[in-house]
Amino acid sequence: MARILIIDDDQLVCDTLSDMVALKGHQATTARTLGQGLRLAREESFDVVFLDVRIPDGNGLEAIPVLKALHNSPEIIIITGFGDPDGAELAIKHGAWDYLEKSATAQEINLVLARALQYRQGKQAVQETTSLRLEGLVAKSPQMKSSLEMIALAARSEAPVLITGETGTGKELVALAIHNNSPRAKGSFVVIDCAALPPTLAESVLFGHVKGAFTGAERARDGLVRQGHGGTIFMDEVGELPENLQRIFLRVLETGRFRPIGMSHEISSDFRLIAATNRDLDQMAGEGRFREDLLFRLRSLGIHLPPLRERPEDILELTTHHLRQIAARRDRAPLDFSPEFAGLLQSYSWPGNVRELIHALERAVAAAGGGHELLPVHLPINIRVFAARSSIAREPDPATASGQPFPTWREAKQDLEAKYLRQALAVAGGDLKKASRLSEISLPRLYELLRKHGLKGQG
């Protein structure tokens, strides 16, 4: 329910607008003078102000900046009996949401009000992202910031949520963030992994059974749906839910009631559902493999998580965050990382997304042993190979770029060798022993190679 202030000296307008607002389930307060309206706006908190222009004690247009400067900055809809293009322009420039004539139909007024409230809700969600509890979620990129806004919106709602995204993008963390920031945070967060459940067990695991309900049911079992009472159920890999259970689950979502296997009556569970998938449920629904009505229910709120390769701005933030976490678990100071290490992380495509990044960091920290700085050499070999291949692929074709003849294999190998040695020396800060360790080339062989290419190090 929103709170609406109506400032108009015309009693009939005040009454008509109040009735319209009340019919939409909102609370209306009226003021017949500008002074009274401004006082009310300062003392109370309103979402929207309907503001007349010509009021006996002042001009509504001049009051817009005063109202917008208030702590809760209400949306302002100008409503006037005297349509004036200049006045309309001035109103919008001062920050009014819209400018309506009193001759507007109820439908037009309702639509403008609904849009203003919808916009305001979204705006509040953005403001609230700063106070969200976000364990493990990092958002520097615009895509992830927009996901955070959706998380804030979802946390304030009771509607089912469908989270989509590739494997490893953090769908479960998003579900957990919604739960932790919702009024159900004190209840359980119950995971149902639809892909893990064998079809023969799924119904019993979800809805429970009574003793003796079927062969092997030696004891009664409370299903996960019941265990989620008062909390949130996170249904992972929802695309894997068997078709017979899709029908049952849809009904549970609609009624909050279900019947454990073998029980004569239904029982209820008050839970909020968050589902996730990396499958294309629209396509599955089109092929008749996923119920369209269930998909419609699940997607009351949809959150799509972009793959890591589409939000490179987040890679270093995530790296810093997880290195801190790893260090805390190992009870030591977080490791620094070299610019080359950072560059390599940013150039890799991360097909396994954030999960792959975390694994790579865990392995890099383990490989660094007692060192203080992470270097490219500490990363898993598949990532280094990818980076090496990409960097070579990015270089222009020597034959076409310089007009030189295409190099022989021996020449190309020599060039690559020299380049690698220069990089090893740079990363090692010129220290030959360190370069030998990093490159896993013995010191005598390293001396030999450096001499061959006319390069010099220290030590």
């Binding site: 364990e135 493990g136 479960e172 957990l176 359980s188 967060f189 119950v190 995971v191 992994d193 892909a195 893990a196 459940l197 064998p198 067990l201 695991v205 092997g216 004891r219 079992r221 409370d222 996960l224 265990q227 909390g231 992972d236 890999e237 894997e240 976490q325 790893i326 678990r329 190992r330 999960r355 975390i358 694994h359 790579a360 960091l361 865990e362 392995r363 920290v365 383990a366 898993p380």
Partner: protein, 131 residues
């Protein structure tokens, strides 16, 4: 053959982990299996596991043991957890869900389910092996 690292945590010297192991082998799930008899051992295995994706069957001996596992912040570890509870009281159950298990069952139930679920998890998710 499906392969996955499997870690079993069970402090009590009973036959439960052997039953779980036998079921897993029966499901044709290969890889490596490590049994941890103490929280300390589990910590070491988790550190060794760093950067891999594993599956863990945790059988806390009592409420205190369950709380100990929760305090280890296993959520940061990337393993898929199957939880076998010896307690059935609602408080223990509510606590157990904070470990976000992919499957939760009870020690006096049908442990063959654990092996079936482990097999399904190995089929769906990519796991690394010790070998």
């Amino acid at each position: 053959m499906l392969r996955a690292n499997l870690i079993v945590y069970n402090k009590l010297p009973d036959l439960l982990d052997q039953e779980i192991e036998a079921g897993i082998i029966g499901q044709g799930l290969g890889g490596g299996l490590k049994v941890c008899r103490s929280m300390q051992e589990l910590r070491v295995v988790i550190e060794e596991d760093a950067g891999r994706s594993s599956m863990a069957v945790l059988v806390p001996s009592d409420r205190e043991d369950l709380e100990g596992l929760i305090a280890m912040r296993l959520g940061d570890w990337q393993a898929r957890i199957i939880l076998v509870l010896r307690q059935k009281d609602p408080e223990a159950l509510a606590l157990a869900h904070s470990l976000r298990p992919r499957f939760l069952t009870f020690a006096d139930g049908n442990l063959a389910e654990v092996a079936i679920v482990a097999r399904n998890l190995a089929r769906v998710h990519q796991f690394h092996t010790y070998h």
